[in-house]
């Protein structure tokens, strides 16, 4: 058994376990010239928490991204799934269209949406001008007041289809007799949704909330491609800031960026534990 698992375990150990442990190790050290490591204890963490305004800006942006994005993803995915569950015309076509963005890479999605948001020739402003709403045109990614929301819209567009598919599968797995009984009792659509469907989908909702939340707390690729964390740090996330401290600052010291990564890891774990405890079902549904 061990021999059978050994190759996979080796790869896991080498590419997951070791980097994580090494990051924890680096976070309490500073890399001096010629690769010399100096133990500094919690100094990196103290500096991070006390005197780094960019870190706190990144935390704020990431929190907004995670909360708003998770809510929109899950609610939007559920609504799309419900619409497909009602078997509208062209349901199969819509399912493919809404799921396709999930299959595209972040780089491709980011480049496409940078073009969409371009002030002069982007589709978003072209539509606004065509609708005689030229006053609403913006440099969507160049304006600190709209940049984060613009990236968020792109992210939601990409991931909505994933949540839709998961919810659709969960809806088809619901016991038909329960839904039938509700209809016999003249239960309205909204009441059926609120009092029967959503409670039965609770485990799926919680799982998707947690997955979506974790993904958004670690968001890097899309932000990096679309804005690089600008303008004026308005889209800086914790992950982009870690990357910049590690690779863009004139230093080989990985201690400080490792401290950011470790601290953020702890924060994400704490939030995930809190979420699962708060959202776990109190009563067991029987049907």
């Amino acid at each position: 058994m061990v021999a059978f698992l050994a190759p996979a375990l080796l790869i896991y150990a080498g590419f997951t376990v070791y980097p994580v442990l090494r990051t924890f190790y680096n976070s309490v050290h500073t890399v001096r010239p010629h690769g010399v490591l100096e133990y500094v204890g919690l100094r990196n963490f103290a500096e991070l928490v006390r005197v780094d305004p960019v870190f706190w800006k990144a935390v704020g942006n990431t929190a907004i991204f995670a909360i708003a994005g998770t809510t929109a993803d899950v609610v939007g995915g559920l609504l799309l799934a419900l619409s497909l569950f009602s078997r509208p015309p062209f349901a199969k076509f819509l399912r493919v269209v809404w799921f396709t963005p999930v299959l595209m890479s972040y780089v491709v999605v980011g480049i496409i949406w940078v073009w969409i948001y371009d002030f002069d020739w982007g589709f978003a402003n072209l539509v606004l001008r065509w609708l005689h709403l030229g006053a609403l045109t913006r440099s969507w990614l160049g304006d600190p007041s709209t940049a984060l929301a613009s990236v968020l819209v792109t992210h939601i567009w990409k991931w909505l289809g994933f949540n839709m598919i998961i919810f659709l599968a969960a809806l088809y797995a619901l016991p038909g007799e329960v839904l039938g009984a509700a209809e016999l009792d003249n239960c309205s659509g909204v009441a059926k949704l609120v009092h029967i469907i959503v409670p039965m989908l609770r485990p799926t909702i919680v799982n998707l909330l947690v997955l979506s939340f974790i993904g958004k707390m670690m968001i890097f690729d899309l932000v990096w491609v679309m804005t690089g964390g600008g303008p004026l740090w308005s889209t800086e996330t914790v992950s982009t800031y870690v990357y910049k401290r590690a690779f863009d600052w004139n230093t080989f010291d990985l201690g400080y960026p490792s401290a950011i990564a470790v601290l953020w890891f702890g924060i994400i774990i704490a939030f995930v534990v809190m979420m699962t405890r708060l959202l776990r079902p109190r009563d067991r549904l029987e049907f």
Partner: protein, 432 residues
Amino acid sequence: MMTGLTRRYLVAAALMMAVAFGGAMSKATAEDVTLTVWSHEADELGKVAFRELAARNLEKSHPGLHVKITWYEKNPLIAALKTALPAGQGPDAFYVEPDQTEYITSGYVIPLDTLVNWTTIQDWARKVWMVDGKTYGLPQEGYTNEIYYNKSLLKRFGVTLPANAQFTQSEFFGLVTKARAAGVTPIAQGVGDRPFPGAYILGEALLRKLGPDDYRNLFTGKLSFQDARVVAVFTWVKTLVDAGAYPKNFMTLKLGESHYYFYRKPGALMLPMGSWYTGRAFVPEDKGGQPKDFPLGLMQFPAMDGGACNECKTGGIGASFAINAASKHKELAAEYLNAMSTPEMGKRWIETIYLQTAVKVDVKEFSGPYASYFKELLERQKGAKYFIGMPRNLITGQCKDTFEQVMNAGFPGGLLPVDRALQTMNQACYKG
């Protein structure tokens, strides 16, 4: 059953075979060497051809040597080096720029003083890479900061370039407003993928206003951004920004796209850029180059009212190469660097890439389709007092990050008022 004599013969034969095989192996490794080089500028065909030619020349003179160049864009190259070098890996030689001092301070590159033939390199260029008396990089590309402009558009706006090719502050502002009024973008700049172009007008204005010493003091934390002269420059640039000097997609327009914006579509009046402009512009049109009949001109950055050094000009070293301290082929790597730095290669650099070089080259006559450009470029150097290096070469850490966000992007992008910009820069950079 094996007799003692047979056993001895077998042992001797085995030993002879081992010696012969081991000799054959070591003969193979002594001759077949792969020298690895990592280089930026994968999208600049002229430079690719230049460095590959140097590689082939070196291979001809060293049978068994194979030079393998891996081409990158800048940010992926930096990330690759920052992961490979601390692991004791990485190429034998790699592309560097003078602001990347961390390779020197962390001991990942070696001094080149005894390895490279410095007689072919200009002394001022070598000094850029000297730290504590040792030279750590071989400079290849020289550049000066220029303002490229469309001669036809300038004529259309009824403006004549002064004899010294330098407008005053008010004349430059007038030019910007005239262009904007005519529906032409005055300055085709974008900061979508680079941390410096947005600061050209601002940085060059500061150099001319402050003079080289206080300009250096400003970016080394010894002069406050609240100095009255600095405030005056920021205030003037703000008037340009408010007059619509930059395109609306300034924050997302990429460096390569800004070239296209300037000389193709939609077209603009000016493009402040390093003289490496030619690397993208002087290529075939179907590869993104400027039209053959594009009326290209060069002007100086505007003179500042009461400026301490209006004849000052930023020059610098761009592309350079260094040798990995962990390389097992340091001498061969140095020979590759030397192969790129001969006078013949220096002349080839100028004639095919149309860019200044750090190599000592005596070129008085230019021929070919861009001869007039080069003559005009040399004309703009006359009487200039050079400040070597851009602000990013002088700053590190938080100051560098803030420069990128504020002076490069936020302030010229119209996102910050003068006082906020100055305050933010001071907080990050001023050590007084």
